[in-house]
């Protein structure tokens, strides 16, 4: 049972405070803020207690979302899940999530809270149900900017306007339904560990299909996945090119009667964002991991540490990875760095506080190979400190690509929507934890 709920800005300002059960005063807000800011790094921040009161919080949009509870029976799991959901709801209703948008829409958020939680019991978080009760209009926080030219083509020309949705299209309040649209995102997170011998020790994908819907009069949406999509090890269909996942979970609103035969997800989308399907795959990735790294570490005759790195991108030639960042732990006491990089847009930086050097590559297309040499000055370099050059971590983004090969064949809305296409499908793979051991 939730006793109180409050939202704080990152500076500790009270944005929203709601007491559901009258069990404690609002002075606990300051107690919480003191506790959370004084927390040492290795302490789990999830549950903190103050006398009888237990704080559970999450951080979303730079804000603290905090719930307190006094009863031992309440589940922090439920509360965290709920807080995340609440943040998503507020995002749906206010368009975006920031200190400003929460401040501007406090009346709306109070109204939401009233419906969502009663006496600490969570009632509902479905925007479908809530739209019957919510009266307050959202105030949009999009700032006017002279530089926001996303909607204007060169000299006012209509360049690709029909192909690309404006960047702000997916961040507006669900209530303002002037222009409608459906956004389907297939997001995958890749975690890979490659051993020092080059063997892939672990390769997991966690994926989800998210639907963000601004349609008012859409009664049914049908999402067609690859027909050869299979779940679990036993149900492989045909042979070879099947798209395969180990485990699949669906939103409870999804009807699966056509899923077994035609791989079609049927749902009647409620407004706002929801995760329609989550899936995961471990170890049997259909394609090789996107990056390989070939490092050589040696000591030159002037006592410097030399690191040669060859980074090979194994993506298909037409695809590319963006925002690639390679982080290499370096020995303690490393004072300076000089580097030779293969192109000018690449960067390299030494970060002494995290004892690592970070090599960033804005774009790396499939089939290419990049190399770099780093020379590090380490006073008192010993053979042991060579061992401190630890596992290399990569972060990157693969737009328009799914590592499982999952594709959306079609997206049909009933009744058929008039006007130009308002259906957008986006694919992206993020690196979650991509480690190459050296």
């Amino acid at each position: 049972m939730i006793s109180q709920l409050f939202i704080l800005s990152s500076k500790g300002d009270h944005l929203i405070y709601k007491d559901f059960r009258g069990e404690a005063g609002n002075d606990v807000i300051n107690v919480f803020y003191e506790k959370v800011t004084a927390l040492p790094g290795d302490q789990p921040p999830v549950v903190m207690s103050h006398r009888d009161l237990h704080f559970v919080h999450v951080r979303q949009g730079g804000l603290y979302w905090v719930a307190t509870t006094t009863s031992a029976g309440s589940s922090p799991f439920t509360i965290i899940d709920f807080l995340n959901r609440l943040a998503a709801l507020v995002t749906d209703y206010c368009g975006s999530l920031s200190e400003k948008s929460v401040q501007m829409n406090f009346a709306l958020i109070y109204e939401l809270l009233d419906e969502v939680v009663d006496y600490g019991y969570i009632q509902t978080t479905s925007s479908d149900v809530l739209k019957n009760f919510i009266q307050t209009e959202a105030v949009s926080s999009r700032p006017f900017s002279l530089f926001d030219l996303s909607n204007v083509g060169l000299f006012g020309a209509e360049t690709q306007q029909s192909k690309v949705a404006p960047s702000s299209a997916a961040t507006r309040p669900i209530q303002s339904s002037r222009d409608q649209g459906v956004f389907v995102d297939v997001i995958e997170r890749l975690s890979v560990i490659i051993g020092s011998n080059g063997a892939v020790m672990k390769a997991d994908v966690e994926g989800e299909i998210k639907v963000k819907c601004y349609m008012l009069n859409c009664s049914e949406m049908r999402i067609g996945l690859n027909e050869e999509f299979s779940i679990g090890r036993s149900t492989l269909r045909g042979y070879g090119a099947a798209v395969h996942v180990d485990e699949c979970r669906f939103h409870q609103a999804v009807k699966l009667d056509e899923f077994d035969d035609h791989r079609i997800l049927k749902l009647c989308p409620s407004q706002g964002e929801q995760t329609v399907m989550q899936y995961q795959l471990s170890d049997n990735l259909p394609s090789p991991p996107p990056f390989r790294l070939f490092p050589t570490i040696e000591r030159d005759n002037r006592g410097r540490l030399l690191i040669y790195m060859k980074l090979r991108c194994d993506l298909p030639p037409k695809s590319a990875a963006i925002n690639v960042s390679v982080s290499v732990p370096v020995p303690k006491g490393c004072v300076s760095l000089s580097q030779e990089l293969s192109s000018p847009e690449q960067r390299c930086e030494l970060k002494p506080q995290s004892r690592s050097l970070v090599w960033t590559v804005p774009r790396c297309s499939g089939g290419t190979q990049l190399s770099a040499v780093f020379k590090l000055d380490v006073p008192g370099l010993s053979s042991a400190s060579m061992l401190e050059v630890g596992p290399v971590g990569l972060t990157f983004e693969l737009p328009k690509l799914t590592s499982t090969g999952l594709q959306i064949r079609f997206l049909r809305l009933t009744p058929v929507q008039p006007g130009p296409s308002q259906r957008w499908v986006r694919y992206v793979t993020h690196s979650d934890s991509y480690i190459i051991r050296v």
Binding site: P44, F77, Q135, E247
Partner: protein, 918 residues
């Protein structure tokens, strides 16, 4: 125009301005003003002065404005109760509104106004709303009953709202059901004796049906409620499991975790050889794995829970080691938790994999994590014997890196490995000694010194090494000083000729120049020992040390069981029972896992674990939990300060308090006329001190032939180099005796028997030395009977390992006392047991029980059932009261036990069963 401007008005006279605006005629202006008021309220400004003006805005048909006003009311009504009455009329009127939204809003808000005077006005509207045609209003009303109950519980009972609420469980709308369940569960928690949440198969069925249709949050309420149900048999338990299992694939992970809790609990009931049991185990793994793909906060909570599950049923996740591999971007608290689970899952099959992972972790950047990883390698070595060698070589590799903290941590764990596998890996000592100079942390220094002292005979320059430490003796931390003192004494005993000077030096440093009493005392002991009897000193200082075992970091079984019942709740995150962090007034219920079904199953480990406190033979698990479960477990290891002893002391105090409270009036009335139930044997002088009154043990003769529990094997030959001891405790003429059969199953003769009782909660101690005619030749056995008394905590030392005592002793209770006490003991401490197949009538049962000093205080017959009220007292002052239900012709007896210390109920019950069946 945005709302943010409300936050920026800070002028003087602001309240005044707002007042004017609130009284404006324009609706828009009013609304803006109320918004400003609420904005000020949020940031903590006191706007209570505006109360009448805001309440005036309440009469409006604008729903948005109405909601804002209600928001204000909820906040300030408490501070202005008289004014709040002004609002009542509007509320009552709103409850009749044709718009269900307004009806619900009114009921919801009224419940939140925590003013006593309002509650009476609330009853009528609430009664109507509970029967409203609109489910939205009904579900709001259901919650409102819980709110009202919190303010005025009596009123709710008098008005019959509880029954209406119970009816709502059968409502057609699942949302209403969920809220009714939530409200009832909470009310039931504060009324432990009511049968509000009377779960029977019919209601279960309703709940399970509603489960499929509810919102995700409603499902959580219902699942949590299901978890409190105890199925009648394994069939029912299986069918519930079958209906709950689909929840495991729910997208909301809180639902998944609640379902896991239900399944983990009901699984206890299922026989292990059932196919379904295996299927269920398999089904549990994937959802648990999926929980780990959530945000770090959720991951952490999930991992804490998985940690418990893995300890209880490692088989569920034994193939899923990989998912616990640490990701480099995991927050440190997630990493540490994963590491812990990896060790728990480590087995011979996967140890190579695990070690390779751990070695990688040991080269990471984060110092804390690296340390824990190195520790983990040591734990692996101790847990999986086959891997010890590989672990040691891994550790040596790590020492070669010369990374300071890695080396130190490695040395600390190698010390533990030496303790576990003595005389096996001493070849590495040379490598360790090379790193002597780089150690700067006390723990590592102490570990290294211990190693040097322990293996002094194999290290040529041990004296030089220790001497080097001695130079800065006073700058060292206490830990190191103590270790250094011991190490040098060891060295001296091993190489007396060369090290006389050194030992003199350290003894004088410790005794003369130190202000630390621990150090000084230890110094003096060694000094005297060495000067009086060097041979004895050798035996004491160089004695064989008990091996350490991997169980040290396991959660104590009874605590684990309780925590399993609390999966998903705060208790599972803190790994503490709810009673440890919640004040009593919230009604903490002790939960236990149900026993396995059928007597045929009673041999399975699970059934035993229910009574683990008394049954677990010679467990090496140190009592690190603070439960009383170990109360009856006489463990040879010296009790840790957090162990059961201080706790049992507290329990005794509790019992004393109880007597004080319950008996004061009785004492005042004088003892002139002892109640009829007092047996004639009771002639002990009533000295006025209550304690004496109940300490009657010796004043009472033994009636009838005393019952003697059969002997059980306390110490199997395997564990004690061939010495087997089986024994029991009996009471002859008021003297407790320990009867033992000692058997020599070894090949050689045994001599020199002595016995020592560890300090135990009963204060049992031998009254005389043990009489064993030595030598005891191979395969000879001998009966020994040792009189005991209960005077004191004594400590000596001898071969007898862990005994357990199950002992009930005499006490007489007067009927009034019995009743008072019975009432005084909170209901959650009551436990019920069934004794099956017992063919005695109540008189015979009563006589039998008397033979083990359980006395019948009163007897009555209700509906053909004989109710016997009985009492007993353990020697440590813990009382247990029992109600024994005997029905003529029915071989099953029901025992309800009430006790201040619910943990002993299980053992008391077992004595009951043993006696009645004999």
């Amino acid at each position: 125009m945005t709302d943010s401007k409300y936050f920026t008005t800070t002028k003087k006279g602001e309240i005044f301005e707002l007042k004017a605006e609130l009284n404006s005629d324009k609706k828009e202006k009013k609304k803006e003003a109320v918004k400003k008021v609420i904005a000020s309220m949020t940031v903590g400004k006191d706007v209570s002065a505006l109360f009448p003006d805001v309440v005036n805005c309440m009469q409006t048909d604008n729903l948005e404005l109405k909601k804002l006003v209600y928001l204000y009311l909820m906040n300030y009504a408490k501070s202005q109760p008289d004014m709040a009455i002004m609002a009542v009329n509007t509320f009552v009127k709103d409850c009749e509104d044709p718009n269900p939204l307004i009806r619900a809003l009114a009921v919801r808000t009224m419940g939140c106004i925590r003013v006593d005077k309002i509650t009476e006005y609330l009853c009528e509207p609430l009664r109507k709303c509970l029967k409203d045609e609109d489910p939205y209003v009904r579900k709001t009303a259901a919650v409102c009953v819980a709110k009202l109950h919190d303010i005025n519980a009596q009123l709710v009972e008098d008005q019959g709202f509880l029954d209406t609420l119970k009816d709502l469980i059968s409502d057609s709308n699942p949302m209403v059901v969920a809220n009714a369940v939530a409200a009832l569960s909470e009310i039931a928690e504060s009324h432990p004796n009511s049968n509000l949440m009377d779960l029977n198969p019919q209601t279960m069925n309703k709940l399970l049906t509603a489960l499929n249709e509810c919102t995700e949050w409603g499902q959580i309420f219902i699942l949590d409620c299901l978890a409190n149900y105890t199925p009648r048999d394994d069939r029912e338990s299986q069918s519930i499991c079958e209906r709950v299992t689909p929840r495991l694939s729910h997208a909301n992970s809180a639902v998944v975790l609640s379902a896991v809790k239900v399944l983990m609990k009901f699984m206890e009931m299922l026989p292990k050889d059932l196919d379904y049991y295996g299927t269920l185990l398999k089904k549990l793994a994937p959802p648990l794995v999926t929980l780990l793909s959530a945000e770090p906060e959720l991951q952490y909570v999930a991992l804490r829970n998985i940690n418990l599950i893995v300890q209880r049923r490692p088989e569920i996740l034994k193939h899923e080691m990989k998912v616990f591999y640490v990701k480099y971007n995991d927050p440190i608290y997630v990493k540490l938790e994963k590491l812990d689970i990896m060790i728990r899952l480590a087995s011979q099959a996967n140890i190579a994999q695990v070690l390779a992972e751990l070695k990688e972790y040991a080269t990471e950047v984060d110092v804390d994590f690296v340390r824990k990883a190195v520790r983990a390698i040591g734990r692996c070595a101790i847990k999986v014997e086959q891997s010890a060698e590989r672990c040691v070589s891994t550790l040596l590799d790590l020492i070669q890196t010369k990374v300071n903290y890695v080396v130190q941590e490695a040395i600390v764990v190698i010390k533990d490995i030496f303790r576990k596998y003595p005389n096996k890996y001493e070849s590495v000592i040379a490598t360790l000694c090379e790193n002597l100079d780089s150690l700067d942390e006390p723990e590592a220094r102490a570990a290294m010194i211990w190693i040097v002292g322990e293996y002094a005979e194999r290290i040529d320059n041990a004296d030089e090494l220790l001497e080097s430490f001695l130079e800065g003796f006073h700058d060292e931390s206490t830990q190191v000083q103590l270790q250094l003192l011991t190490a040098i004494v060891k060295l001296f005993l091993k190489k007396p000729t060369e090290t006389q000077e050194l030992v003199q030096q350290v003894l004088s440093l410790a005794t003369q120049d130190s202000d630390n009493p621990d150090l000084r005392d230890r110094g003096y002991i060694y000094w005297r020992l060495l000067s009086t009897d060097p041979v004895a000193a050798k035996e004491v200082v160089l004695a064989e040390k008990p091996l350490i075992s991997e169980e040290t970091d396991l959660i104590e079984p009874t605590l684990l069981e309780e925590l399993i019942c609390h999966i998903g709740t705060l208790a599972s995150v803190y790994h503490k029972p709810p009673s440890a962090f919640v004040e009593g007034n919230h009604g903490v219920q002790h939960k236990g896992l149900p026993g396995s079904a059928g007597s045929a199953e009673s041999e399975s480990p699970d059934a035993v674990s229910a009574g683990a406190a008394t049954e677990a033979p010679a467990a090496v698990i140190p009592s690190q939990g603070d439960l009383l479960g170990d109360l009856l477990n006489l463990d040879l290891t010296p009790p840790a300060t957090t162990g059961p002893l201080p706790h049992s002391g507290g329990m005794q105090m509790g019992a004393m308090d109880l007597l004080g409270g319950g008996l004061d009036s009785l004492m005042g009335a004088g003892f002139g006329a002892p109640p009829a139930a007092m047996p004639p044997a009771f002639s002990a002088p009533v000295s006025g001190s209550l304690y004496d009154l109940f300490d009657l043990d010796n004043g009472v003769g033994m009636p009838l032939g005393s019952f003697c529990p059969p002997k059980t094997v306390w110490l199997p030959a395997m564990k004690a180099k061939g010495l087997e001891i089986s024994g029991t405790f009996v009471r002859h003429a008021g003297v407790i005796q320990m009867e033992m059969t000692i058997t020599n199953k070894a090949m050689s003769v045994m001599t020199g028997f002595a016995i020592q009782f560890n300090r135990n909660s009963f204060g049992l101690a031998p009254a005389g030395p043990i009489q064993v005619p030595s030598p005891l030749s191979p395969n000879q056995n001998i009966e020994v009977s040792l009189p005991l008394n209960t005077v004191g905590p004594v400590m000596k030392m001898e071969p007898l390992n862990n005994l357990q005592v199950k002992k009930t002793l005499v006490v007489f209770l007067f009927r009034q006392v019995f009743l008072a006490t019975w009432k005084d003991i909170p209901n959650e401490n009551e436990s019920q047991f069934q004794i099956k197949d017992c063919h005695l009538n109540s008189d015979a049962a009563s006589n039998k029980l008397q033979s083990i000093n359980i006395f019948t205080i009163a007897e009555r017959t209700v509906d053909g059932q004989d109710m016997l009220y009985q009492s007993m007292k353990l020697t440590n002052g813990i009382w247990a009261l029992a109600e024994l239900k005997v029905q003529a012709g029915n071989p099953n007896y029901t025992v309800s036990l009430k006790c201040r210390a619910p943990e002993v109920s299980q053992c008391v019950f077992q004595s009951y069963e043993a006696v009645l069946k004999n």
